[in-house]
Symmetry: D2
């Protein structure tokens, strides 16, 4: 695994736990953790349960005891690491967004396809697909329970930078993060919307904004210096604070999206609502064990949004864990991801979401940026 | 009063009830009801409590025992009736949207200003301003409790025409209704957003759609024939089924709007959420007695969206009714409207929302239509 | 009508409104309002729309232009007025609880039965039966949608006397009110539970408490002096502040009840939840337009409590008012009551809840008081 | 660890995960798993990550490489194993309820106290104390934010045996489980109520019921044969299906409790609501990351139950995991338990809840059973 910050910790928990709950065909061994600082990486490896340490990810890729490379670094390094790993014959799980640019994502998708022909698998870690409630939503749509889709409204609302004194961390710098709310959390709702509906966005009209343009400099929590952080010095925020866009789905529905880190009181509100001719769905990650479903085929007197507690044995992934009503949390989505990835490797099939799926999201993000820069004009996704 | 359908019934209940709950300076007398069919109008007058009947609204305006004219007809007749009434020295309460076109609305606003100089008052019936929870939301924003506003997301979701077999009523015909979801319910969320924030929309980018383009012909419930409704005959839907738009508010916030009659399971979900630097608000008319408020100035460990039951004596309008927790319903918003209108007439002040406010909404709707017709291009509101 | 305080105001609104919304067979005329103070009663009559005034309820009963007597006074006067009115051949609508003692209630039930033989009707105003959501709950149970009932948990939570400085109003004095939370709000949940389940309570075990035993004296809001209220003087609270009881229903279900005015933050939370072998229901008056229904016959993966917005044309009472999603409020329950009462009078049938139903509730309350006074011992309702 | 069924799996996940998230002073080594069937135990050990296996728990206690014994068996074996382990100088974590009888629990508490004098620690696994939201509730009460407590209403609602065809598993047999809903889930709400309020129950009045008295025989999921399960054979349910009780807390509040497995649609609804003079709290485990808090010291116009998402760094346990809004699940409560247990062992302090706390709960359950058997008569807890 490359990287041991937030994503590294949650991925480690997934690798550590998967076998106790799922009958996986491959027993993962947590072999090597890679990070730039030897001291810090060693400490993280001890806490997280990795057997060895490398300070250069290239060494990690060269090792024979590594068959799977899990990339948990910021987006600017994804392409280089992933392509090298795939070309070295390692299966790759890569954090989202796939890359910081469409060009990088295209190169990665090409590498993934090339690797797949040699039986080497790749997957992009849009973990929200594997929230049981989201997977159930996808199933209900696929089964036709919603009929013809009319509306998707998706939002990803956080508030962690609402305070103008919050420092200029790497996620607020275009060179590291590629974009702001758009790429970090907007990518999740784009992928989720496309996954749940089984349709793709054909075009968008967009608006972005940076509310706070100067912020105090700060040592980044991931160890990336944001600059020489003298007292009171500030730096420029070079990414969007919020992105709004509207689009059309390939099946004819209208969709709206909003990604922001300025929605005070909303902590991790990854929400969507979908209206179809036969029913509707609503989800909010802040209540991740619930899916709301309205069955419009029932008599009107009987109908209403029902709160399905997605913890039944028959629900996606849920049966492997605890009895009904005993909820799951954030990290379980990664355990499900790892489980499906291991199964795909063993079965010799391509796991999903693929790098091509990641590229598709990247193209939507690029269209959003183009539209926002061009008076919100309608911009096809290509 | 002119018109006795849905709006006529609810306005009648307001006129009938206002004095029992509010110490109004003018005691309204329900003098004359006007409608085209004498028989039907007389029956409605008996049920609704009107003393006399006219089949021509022009006669109603001429009567000396009429000082206030309340216009509850479809939008295409508003301008003619309102201008005539104002010029005849009658105070006018007019249903929303103010008119079907900007030109009509402008003429009405001019007439209203002319009348105001003679002490004749006018008001447009955006009743949702007088939901106690919405009025409380406006108060909290005005008091600075939300700080600098960042986001407004407003939706008005209904589902009454989701079924393609629902007939072609007057609200689905451009000649009668002016527009579809946009003017009927979109106008409400535009007015509400501008009212609550105290800011105006400066520009928009929009998308509209008509999902079902042909519908069975039908005798309209208001008695307006939609055409010769032979068995199986259909007619063209000439208005939007749904409208989405994004905009910027004069204070710098981003706003998104969605009006649709295809959101299955949502019956009258007039919802908004507002995020500011110091707090956030959320409202849904389907739970009209509740306002959700997040106070971001509290310690993070203590904070969260709180459900304020807007039924306390200190809440707008609520004290006149029942003890705390004994909720109000839809019609009460009209009673509040009538009360404020009577007070303004007695005090010789201009009630709000004025025809100028109605015109402002109309201009937003026009900008939405222009943007939607021009590839969602950013369109200033003017 | 006798009494013009809180209940008088809401009953007046019902009489005033019923004809505009329901096609009632009798057109009510608001003839005479009775109250002790001539001046106050006249003022109330003007505001509430009553044509004449009497300062002695006995005169009101004697009048030929009065056919219906609506009793909105405190419980200690119900028996005398109701029996006199019934014996004088007037139809009687009486506020709840029916009386302050079982003996009075028995006498009233006897009088009601005697009157019924002469075609004179009587009804006790347990208005919550006519919340559309509660009436729908009753219908679902009656249709067998819940199967065999296992559990009822009912609560009526308010907080208006949580502050020890709140004064000693008449509702806190046993001589006027009979009991405290038990009779005032506990009676509602007992009646509602029996109504919705169609079963009766066969026995109870109870606990009551008075948390604040001394309170400042105060002129009662209804004009009933609570004593000579000198500065700082206090008086004894002679009723319960809270009552808890458990019981068994005639069909075998277990039931729990709690009535309190000390549940801070709960304003008028008249709540119940019912679990049956085939489904469950939940209701809270603070969200009065919603009924939550779990259909246990659905596949587990699909099931969950659904929020039925009880505003559809097919729902009890709702169709007479506004389109779906346009909620009703507290007062509408009284309009429904009056409508059903008028229909029963015209049809020559006995309206429900009858005085016998009111007596049945009274017997439960008496059993609660006996059990609470006898170490919570199981006490049959008789 | 002894036992590898439901509780064994979740405890294993806790031991496996604790070090990656908490800076525990002792690094736990998952040494030995004990179970009766060698084959099954070995398979479980491989999946769950235990290094060795014993088929006799007595051997496990004898091993030198075991310092901590974690007891995850049914209640009938707790006393014997726990006392033996404590006497052998092993720290003991024991699943709840502490025992099946007060006598056993007393012996265990004595053994725990004896062991504590030698520095050997013991803890009973009432895991719900360590839901962050429940721990926060306790903190708010302890800080005085609720003022004087008036009401506690606690419920634990499940529905897994609502179907009469559900088989006679060990949890439905008195010899194995001690009692039914009462001991299994009622014990949780008793402990939680006492923990959160910091008060003890002084007496109770109770009602219990067994709705379905005969059930099909079945091989128990934990490998305990429920009898020779021939086709169509049934056996007697010897425990309660549901238990209701009311009580008084040592600080003067009234409390009500309900434990049932027949509440259709409620999967794991461990709920409580607490009303104090200055505020109120509400919690439902089905939404385990939320605590609802009403601050009654705020102006009435501003107040309401707020939904605190208990995922902030300053919340109990939450900071060790993920960023705000990224919820936790059921198993995390056990990780927190293990973390606190390890810290107490290292610090030489007595962890909480102690065996004495477990005994206190047991005494409440015993009083409930006595009251239920004696006409719900008030029964002091002793």
């Amino acid at each position: 695994m490359v990287g041991y910050a937030f994503m590294g910790r949650v991925h480690s928990q997934a690798w550590r736990s998967v076998r106790a709950f799922f009958d996986v065909p491959i027993t993962p061994v947590m072999a090597v953790l890679s990070g730039r600082s030897e001291e810090r990486t060693a400490a993280a490896a001890a806490d997280l349960g990795w057997a060895a340490v490398e300070t250069d990810w290239k060494e990690l890729i060269r090792r024979d005891d590594v068959q799977i490379v899990d990339i948990c670094t910021p987006g600017d390094s994804h392409a280089e690491i992933a392509i090298a790993a795939l070309d070295a014959g390692k299966h790759v799980l890569c954090e989202k967004p796939l890359a910081n640019t469409v060009a990088e994502a295209e190169a990665m998708a090409v590498a993934a396809e090339r690797a797949a022909r040699r039986g080497v698998r790749s997957m992009v870690a849009f973990n929200y697909r594997r929230v049981p409630a989201v997977a159930l939503a996808q199933r209900l749509v696929a089964e036709g329970r919603l009929g013809e889709l009319r509306h998707v409204r998706a939002q990803y609302l956080q508030d962690w930078i609402a305070d103008p004194e919050f420092p200029l961390v790497w996620r607020l710098r275009k060179d590291k993060a590629g974009s702001g709310a758009l790429g970090d959390i907007g990518s999740h709702i784009v992928d989720t919307a496309q996954f749940v509906t089984g349709q793709t966005l054909t075009g968008v009209s967009a608006l972005t904004e940076t509310f706070v343009r100067q912020r105090p400099l700060a040592e980044d929590s991931a160890g990336l210096a944001a600059g020489a952080a003298g007292a009171g010095e500030t730096g420029e925020v070079t990414v969007d604070d919020a992105a709004l866009f509207m689009g059309r789905l390939s099946g004819g529905a209208l969709a709206s999206f909003e990604a922001t880190r300025f929605a005070t009181g909303r902590k991790n509100a990854m929400r969507f609502e979908i209206n179809g001719s036969l029913g509707s769905l609503a989800f909010d990650f802040e209540s991740l064990n619930e899916l709301w479903f309205h069955d419009h085929t029932l008599p009107a007197e009987d109908a209403g949004f029902r709160r399905i507690l997605v913890t039944e044995p028959g629900h996606p992934y849920a049966g492997a864990w605890w009895p009904p009503g005993h909820g799951l949390g954030y990290e379980h989505t990664f355990t499900h991801e790892v489980k499906d990835f291991l199964e795909a490797i063993a079965a010799g099939t391509d796991p999903s979401p693929s790098f091509a799926d990641g590229l598709r999201v990247q193209r939507v993000l690029a269209a959003v940026e183009r539209s926002a820069a061009d008076q919100s004009r309608w911009t096809p996704v290509q």
